[in-house]
């Protein structure tokens, strides 16, 4: 009997949450893993939120939410306090998002970079960052003098390995002698560690540095050492104006605006979105004039071809490190293979940490 009493009480609390919802005060909530001023991952999500706000929709955000026990409470509080659509912008929010979604069937949830959609009100979305890596690989292959590219990697998850492979394949196409050296830092954001990793790669002969981490430390280290680098997540040019050749920019704004309007107008559906250069979710920063007009033209053409689908980042033949064939000649890797990628292609040095 008591059990039922609590059940009703709790449902009543949840219903209280819904009762304040109406179309007139439609609200969108955002949960960020970092501070809005990180100049990388969270900064770009915050820019997306600003675009939603500019479209005339009320928004709320909570920053620096740890990916542990606190995330569920923050997401639930947003759902309870009358938010109709909630974006949870880090992988670690996957389970909490699905858990809260179960209790709030009328609230829509959008989880970035995850793969679980356990309830019909949960969508997932991510960007085909690897298409940007293909462009970086092309530039790196042309710009390197030492034929060694240094790569600062965060965690050995498919997304990161996909980026390493896409970059290496594109670089090999313009420069067959390319070697990719990798330092795993096991963090998304730690300026100290990232700077050390960049320096270690430079000491090993890398003259192009790229990163799959969020701080501006690697590009600043590259600037000091006089080697090339690429910005990550947002346009980092002003942090290393001489060194940065271009940046991969995550542009969430169009997607956020589109989904917010759909949720407001009642046309929101569950989906798994994976957008790239074509839709503009992945964009490129300004190109460094040191690249020369010819190379810039080549890269812009390649960008158009990737966007139109004429060129695919993973076109066969692709071999793994031992020389086994991964993708046959004339074939392209399908999304399933890309989503689970867990081996290096030929030309990458070292082993994936296990």
């Amino acid at each position: 009997m008591y059990k039922n009493f609590f059940k009703y009480l709790i449902s009543a609390i949840f219903l209280l949450g819904f009762s304040v919802n109406s179309n007139a005060d439609f609200k969108v909530g955002f949960v960020y893993v970092g501070p809005t001023g990180d100049h990388g991952w969270t900064f770009q999500h915050h820019e997306g939120r600003n675009a939603v706000e500019a479209a005339g929709i009320k928004t709320t955000f909570v920053e620096s939410v740890p990916e542990g026990a606190d995330a569920e409470r923050v997401i639930r509080q947003l759902a309870q306090s009358g938010h109709d659509l909630i974006f949870t912008t880090s992988f670690g929010y996957m389970d909490p998002t699905n858990k809260v979604a179960k209790d709030f069937p009328n609230v829509k949830f959008e989880h970035a970079t995850g793969y679980k959609r356990e309830h019909s009100n949960v969508s997932t979305y991510s960007a085909r960052f690897y298409e940007g890596r293909t462009l970086l690989g092309h530039i790196a292959g042309k710009m390197t003098k030492t034929n060694t590219i240094g790569y600062i990697a965060s965690f050995p998850i498919p997304e990161v390995i996909r980026g390493i492979n896409a970059m290496t394949l594109a670089a090999q196409k313009v420069n067959p002698n390319i070697k990719t050296k990798i330092v795993w830092v096991f963090t998304w954001y730690d300026p100290g560690k990232e700077a050390e990793a960049a320096q270690a790669l430079i000491d090993q002969g890398a003259d192009v540095i790229m990163q799959h981490t969020d701080s501006t430390a690697p590009v600043q280290t590259a600037e000091k050492a006089g080697v090339w680098s690429f910005g990550q997540a947002s346009d980092m040019q002003r942090f290393a104006p001489k060194s940065i050749l271009t940046s991969i920019i995550d542009d969430w704004a169009p997607y956020y605006v589109e989904r917010a309007i759909a949720a407001r107008d009642g046309t929101w559906n569950q989906q798994d979105t994976w957008h790239g250069l074509k839709e503009g979710m992945v964009a490129m920063g300004p190109y460094n004039s040191a690249m020369g007009a010819d190379l810039v033209n080549e890269v812009e053409q390649l960008q158009k071809d990737l966007a139109s689908g004429k060129v695919h980042s993973f076109t066969g033949p692709i071999y793994d490190q031992k020389g086994n064939i991964l993708v046959a000649e004339g074939k392209v890797a399908d999304d399933g293979m890309l989503a689970g990628m867990s081996v290096y292609v030929k030309g990458v040095e070292g082993d994936i940490p296990k």
Binding site: K7, I10, T60, V62, L78, Q80, F155, I157, P158
Partner: protein
């Protein structure tokens, strides 16, 4: 003496006033902002459950720390003991990931407590036998334990079906703390905290060991003249402290989290130091202090949601509580007198 237990309340009132002034300077209605900070988070049953959930690890760790601090042993590494306890407890939970059984959870909890205890013994043994500074050793060991956890969840213990994401498998239901109410996250771990409160009161005020601890805290020389075995006592207080922190860690991973990953604690081990002192190292004071400090976490979230005030206000409030507490202690124990001395008089 009554004032001694009263100053924490003065500190809290001053913190609320200080917070109100900060909100006012930021351009918010201070009354409304303070309402969102201190009332809104616990205005319903869910919020109240979250408050207890957050206070549970803080209370457990602070109880343990009170043994160390009362006896003049400065264990600053509770965060490391929490992490190591979670590693050992989590390791046992992972051993049984595909099994059911009533005995699994007790085993996991026990393993967590032993893990924390062993980790706290390192600074204790180094202090007693090699005269090292326990503040430095225990603090440095925090980083050791965090790096070990990083290594385990990325490498050998990572979920084989988890696409290399830095996390372990989900624990089986048999290694999870039972929930007290359906739909709320408050779990049986709160009974561990309450048991620790009772037990610590009993040990500190009703046993010979408690007497030794208090005497050593008041005067180490007296303790020596009285013939207390100082070394054993140091080992024991560190073991108690470590076991409590280990329990807090295991309570988090078997409670709300359900697996091991890199973010199992938002620095509970450090925040608990504030809790221990705000609670005057008194078991019942610590209950009260853990609830107040837990509220500063929740309030920071609600004020950001409702007023978009940055979440870091939580840290500002915690800092203010500690500052006002230390300041009022200073004024309590020292008389402020304005002296009118000439320069050469000062030399004498």
């Amino acid at each position: 003496m009554a004032l001694y237990f009263f100053t924490p309340f003065i500190a809290i009132i001053l913190t609320i006033l200080g917070g109100g002034i900060i909100f006012y300077i930021l351009g918010f209605n201070p009354i409304e902002a303070l309402k969102f900070y201190f009332i809104t988070p616990i205005s319903n049953l869910y919020g109240f459950s979250e408050l207890l959930l957050k206070a549970t690890p803080l209370c457990l760790i602070a109880i343990g720390l009170s043994f160390c601090f009362k006896s003049n042993n400065w264990n600053i590494g509770a965060e490391g003991q929490l992490t190591f306890g979670a590693i050992v407890g989590g390791g046992v939970a992972l051993l049984f990931y595909n099994q059911e059984g009533f005995y699994i959870l007790p085993l996991v909890i026990l393993a967590g407590a032993i893990g924390g205890m062993i980790f706290a013994l390192i600074p204790a043994i180094l202090k007693t036998y090699f005269n090292t500074n326990e503040i430095l050793v225990s603090l440095m060991l925090v980083y050791v334990s965090k790096l070990l956890l990083d290594y385990l969840v990325v490498g050998p213990w990572s979920n084989p079906e988890g696409f290399n994401f830095p996390e372990t498998r989900q624990f089986s239901d048999s290694s999870r703390m039972p929930l007290l109410f359906e739909g709320l996250r408050i779990h049986a771990g709160i009974f561990l905290a309450l048991a620790a409160v009772m037990l610590s009161w009993f040990i500190l005020y009703k046993t010979y060991l408690g007497f030794q601890i208090k005497v050593s805290g008041l005067s180490l020389k007296t303790a020596k003249y009285a013939g207390f075995k100082g070394k054993t006592m140091i080992l024991v207080v560190f073991m108690i402290s470590g076991a409590c922190a280990g329990l807090a860690g295991v309570g988090e991973i078997t409670g709300p989290i359900g697996q091991l990953h890199r973010m199992i604690s938002p620095d509970y081990g450090f925040t608990a130091i504030i809790v221990a002192f705000l609670g005057r190292l008194n078991p019942f004071g610590i209950i009260f202090a853990s609830l107040v400090v837990a509220l500063t976490y929740l309030g920071a979230e609600t004020t950001q949601i409702f007023l978009q005030i940055p979440k870091y206000t939580g840290q500002v409030f915690q800092g203010m509580i500690l500052f006002f507490l230390l300041a009022s202690d200073y004024l309590l124990f020292f008389k402020v007198k304005i002296l009118n001395l000439k320069k050469n008089e000062l030399r004498h």
